[in-house]
């Protein structure tokens, strides 16, 4: 684990975020900063607002209060696809792959933000469009090699087992070579071996693709191994934030979450 200086510039800062759905407040005055190059974990009991936080960051939800700063600039009210183009990629708690498409096509879709050729060239399947297609195909193959999924490149992902689908989804997010990667429970429902693989991919992804990663995870062992900093949500409020060791020994966190997690 690389210890980052406290002064590392925040890549993203969400300030004083409040989000509610009708009467339910999902987030209340939450600050969340993510520093360049780190692995940032968000933990907390079910319904604490973890996914909501990621949804605010990538623009699926618009908070009633608060601001998001990305790469030093305050972000206006953007659509999710615009935010993706700015350099934020993500995976979903309930896998959201393009089920009818092959692994390779799913990963190629991840590169859409990086492709430029005009519609006409694409229609003619010629010139810049063809060049671009080949170039990005190579990049996609690199990701396939990295994730060791060569054998399923042509398989429609709907037919893959759960663990592999999770891996392909990570691949699609990686393919965008985004500044910031949001992973919503990347290891949920996996067996031990799959979890270990996934941990390795996430650590290496940070190193190889230079991504900053924010992830939600319930497995405390995994969180302690992976994360540089951990933030804890409970009932939509942030109750702790700091290095994994501090979090592990925080009485509030033990009461609200870790105690329960140990009992499970």
């Amino acid at each position: 684990m690389n210890a980052l200086p406290d002064s590392a510039a925040p890549l993203l800062e969400a300030k004083d975020i409040s989000l509610s759905f009708g009467g339910v407040s999902a987030l209340t005055g939450v600050d969340c900063d993510i520093r360049e190059g780190e692995i940032r974990a968000i933990i907390g009991p079910n319904g604490a607002g973890k996914s909501s936080m990621l949804n605010v960051i990538n623009g699926f939800y618009h908070p009633q209060k608060g601001e998001v700063w990305f790469r030093g600039e305050k972000r206006g009210k953007l659509k999710p696809f615009q935010i993706a183009r700015q350099g934020i990629a993500r995976t979903f708690q309930n896998i959201a792959l393009f089920k009818g498409m092959s692994t390779l096509d799913n990963i190629m879709t991840g590169r859409i933000t990086r492709m430029r050729a005009g519609l006409l060239w694409q229609a003619l399947w010629h010139g810049p469009a063809l060049r671009e297609e080949l170039e990005h195909r190579e990049a996609a193959e690199r990701i396939i090699d990295f994730l060791e999924i060569q054998s399923i490149r042509k398989t429609p992902v709907g037919r893959l087992p759960y663990g592999l689908q999770k891996r392909v989804e990570l691949g699609r997010a990686l393919a965008a070579e985004s500044k910031l990667l949001l992973l919503d429970e990347p290891m949920a429902g996996m067996n031990l071996e799959e979890k270990e693989d996934m941990c390795r991919f996430i650590l290496d992804a940070g190193a190889q693709f230079g991504a900053t990663i924010a992830l939600i995870e319930h497995d405390m062992g995994v969180v302690m191994d992976l994360a540089d900093r951990v933030m804890v949500l409970d009932y939509g409020r942030k109750i702790a934030d700091g290095a994994p060791d501090e979090i592990r020994n925080d009485q509030l966190v033990i009461d609200a979450y870790l105690g329960a997690a140990v009992q499970e």
């Binding site: 696809f81 993500r90 096509d105 859409i112």
Partner: protein, 333 residues
């Protein structure tokens, strides 16, 4: 071969050729349905509108002439003696793309997240609206459409097939309209091009992505609105091709928009979400209705082509509601 067999072959061939056009129109439906969950009732009227516009450009008609003349007391009908087919087709394509933009801007964008039935109703409204605009723009009279494609029975084919009959048999060769052959070739080329486009280009992949999962598509940077414009443009292009072919055969008139509705039974057969389904469904309906008319038609007074497709579709609905290739409908309880 006996004349009976040869006649049957002729019927099947003609059925396949009209089926390819059904497939093409059904493809327009499937594309829009997959990308936005909308069953576009206006697809048929789009074909009519495209054909009207094409004829208007070809003959140099002034759009909205009646309206303008009534308002300004002028008497303009034609601004030129017309333009070349290719130019008119290109212009009509532009109009259909412009139409796609307008539909997105004025209709779809305001109906995001509405129930499918609401979207469907909106397209019914759109159909009536376009029909009216088409009338107003180009006049309600029946128009001939000719883009210079050859038509009429192929003498060569008649000659060739006559030789197939047993010597001495009373057989005069098969009748195949050259225009149908052209229509088939063009429709096939378009279907092939669309398939390649959707498989191997960025936009094609984006189209499929949106069809699969809106949220995920947004998360990789795809703009749904841009995709809707593209899909409706493609549907416009498909409508134009179908409009040209049907218009060339029987003139550009209102009934043209009803032929396009034959795509509905095609879709029930093929499944609303399946492109191969649309293609095969179109061929089955095309061949089925011709064969039925040929074999059973004479016994029950003919004109079965008007309803056969719908009855076949009804039959399918009872036994395989998701269609031949459609996604299985699983009701969650």
């Amino acid at each position: 071969m006996s004349p009976g067999v040869l006649n049957t072959i002729e019927v099947v061939l003609n059925g396949l050729m009209s089926g390819v056009l059904y497939s093409l129109v059904a493809l327009g439906f499937v594309l829009i349905f997959k990308a936005s969950g909308i069953f576009n009732y206006a697809q048929g009227v789009m074909a009519l509108f495209a054909a009207l516009t094409l004829v208007g450009f070809q003959t140099g008609q002034v759009p909205f002439a009646h309206l303008l003349n009534a308002v300004f007391g002028t008497d303009y009908h034609h601004w030129s003696s017309g333009m070349h087919h290719a130019a008119a087709i290109a212009l009509t394509l532009l109009v259909m793309v412009g139409f796609a933009f307008l539909v997105e801007k004025l209709v779809l964008r305001h109906l995001v997240n509405q129930a499918p039935i609401i979207l469907f109703m909106a397209t019914i409204g759109l159909a009536f609206f376009m029909e009216g605009v088409g009338d107003l723009m180009w006049g309600p009279d029946l128009k001939a459409l000719d883009i210079g494609l050859p038509s009429g029975g192929s003498l060569w084919w008649e000659e060739v097939t006559r030789a197939w009959a047993a010597p001495g048999a009373e057989y005069y060769g098969m009748y195949i309209d050259v225009l149908d052959v052209w229509a088939t070739v063009i429709a096939l080329a378009l279907v092939a091009a669309l398939t390649v486009f959707s498989q191997y280009t960025r936009t094609g992949r984006a189209l499929r992505a949106v069809a699969d999962d809106h949220q995920a598509a947004l998360s990789v940077g795809i703009s749904l609105r841009a995709i809707w414009v593209i899909v409706w443009s493609i549907a416009g292009m498909v409508a134009l091709v179908a409009g040209i072919m049907w218009g060339a055969k029987s003139g550009v008139q209102f009934s043209l928009s009803l032929i396009a509705l034959k795509a509905l039974p095609v879709l029930i057969l093929g499944g609303f979400t399946s492109i191969p389904g649309a293609i095969i469904g179109g061929l089955i309906i095309g061949v089925g209705e011709k064969l039925f008319e040929y074999t059973v038609g004479p016994m029950i007074g003919g004109a079965t082509e008007n309803w056969f497709a719908y009855v076949l579709a009804l039959f399918f609905l009872m036994f395989r509601p998701q269609g031949l290739f459609g996604d299985k409908i699983i009701e969650r309880v």
